[in-house]
Symmetry: C2
Subunit: 314 residues, 2 copies
């Protein structure tokens, strides 16, 4: 049996024909073009799904289901997608529209959730029953797998891990609260901290690597300078890791997963990030003599969205 | 079939014979006397278990299992209790010792966890699949029920909800971190906030109700003054509710339960607390137009420990 996974993002739509082990056999992509509205985007998703099967000479009869990962959620009451970050969608009947073209079971998951599912099927947390996946990107997203299955909560509004409050009265968040974890643990936060730091320390290597232009400082700039031993960058990175761990400790003390997987832009810091997090956590977890979650880096990269979406139907 | 539940606390040991619907048929208690060490305490627990069955003329053959709720956790690797808050226990083989006297399956759960289980069997969250129970007492404890079953995590170290960090770099916590939720949402926190407030506002009714003595201010003092309309007390209570909701929002955005149950000392504020929390939450949850967890008050009171412990064996 085969599965089709669709990864819908603000820039591109990616579809893949996937086998039951989570291996991608064929991929196809097209631009999202957000401004054209939801209907043609959903039509393109359906067309891409048919295309990857056809190009691989696989009959749709041998495709068990289609899964879609998107930057939003599904309302379990209606089956609709009530909103999608960056896509400006409102109550879009994705499944109904898709099924006008494709007569297959269709499943929808949040993009971070399906990336977590992908890692737990074919990535670093393969075979692990309870895992939490965290994307450290523009925001902080979360995907929860409990007992081997995606956990999205009772009303489908769970796993928004970036919106745990870790700094009451802290930075303003787009969700209306102050001090959400993603304001301190996202790539955006690391950039903000880096830009703040060079105001006091313009001699920092962060500034050199950014070509002397503060607005060119990215997460990678701070990380590269910290790796090279720059004192200001090391302090910024340590502060970032402290805030990252403040949320990780909440996850560990709350749901006690077997593995926490770090993905998204900041995770490209690789072993440097992993070593820092693993050094910081032991003093912060509640039960200091008991085993707790291993922290690992995501391994599937950009394919996680397709693989995880496909696995929704498994 | 019958079940026996044992509620071990720092002051007393309570045991109860419980039917399969969570109804207590017979109770017995004795003092804990922490200073005598774990062995005689465990022996008393076994003796109380036998006593409640005998007094109700129920043969131990008709008792399916014994459950114990205690202020600690069980190490799933050893079956031992590695530590118990306030009891000074270290690696106590509770089950082995109990079974020298009672040849029954024995289960151990954290006290907040079993209280949550009790509410989900015979209390306010009866029949609810996914619920989170929170005790607002000296600290903040948590009990998670997922799919009708107690969830304690992969390594048994989960549901320590009081130790999610909500105020990075905030008040020092006994766990070694700063800014744990329980430093801001426990009865202890409400007392601290009340005592701080009267330093600036000695004319507050908080002070009158405390007989003019700052150290006599309790959580109830602040709540009673707030209920009576005292401005200082209302401000303190609002601040407390804000901090309480900061953690509740984390729970909702993370695990999205169907019901959140508030128990413990502060929950005796009753409808006054419930109204305040329900008024504050809607603007703080992430998905503002989607349904989210109902917040309710615990209904089983002091019996929750016995009932929940008994239900561990069901």
């Amino acid at each position: 049996m085969y599965y089709i996974g669709i990864d819908l993002g603000g820039t591109g739509i990616k579809a893949g024909l996937v086998d039951e082990n989570g291996k991608i056999l064929r991929k196809a992509t097209c631009p999202t073009l957000v401004e054209r509205g939801p209907r043609p985007i959903v039509d393109d998703m359906a067309a891409l799904a048919l295309r990857v099967a056809k190009e691989e000479n696989v009959s749709m009869d041998d495709v068990k289901a289609i899964g879609i990962g998107l930057p939003g959620i599904q309302d379990p009451r209606t089956g609709h997608v009530p909103f999608c970050t960056n896509l400006y969608w409102h109550e879009v009947p994705v499944i109904e529209w898709m099924r006008e073209t494709v007569d297959k079971p269709i499943f929808i998951g949040n993009d971070a959730t399906v990336a977590g599912l992908a890692e737990s099927v074919a990535g670093v947390s393969a075979g692990v029953k309870n895992s939490v996946f965290i994307t450290l990107g523009t925001g902080v997203g979360g995907g929860i797998v409990l007992d081997g299955k995606v956990y999205s909560g009772t009303h489908g509004v769970g796993s928004e891990l970036g919106h745990m409050i870790t700094v009451v009265d802290g930075e303003m968040c787009s969700c209306g609260n102050r001090g959400c974890w993603e304001r301190y643990a996202s790539a955006t936060a690391l950039i903000r901290m880096g830009r703040q730091a060079v105001k006091e320390h313009p001699e920092s290597m962060i500034m050199t690597l950014a070509g002397g232009e503060e607005e060119k400082i990215e997460a990678k700039t701070v990380i590269d300078a910290a790796k090279a031993g720059d004192e200001t960058a090391k302090k910024v990175f340590d502060l970032y890791v402290y805030h990252l761990c403040a949320g990780l400790v909440g996850i560990i003390n709350f749901i006690d997963p077997e593995v926490i997987v770090l993905g998204g832009g900041v995770s490209h810091a690789g072993q440097f990030l992993l070593d820092a997090v693993r050094a910081k956590l032991p003093s912060m977890v509640f039960y200091k003599t008991m085993p707790y979650a291993r922290v690992e880096l995501a391994t599937l990269g950009n394919d996680a969205g397709i693989i995880g979406a496909a696995m929704l139907g498994k």
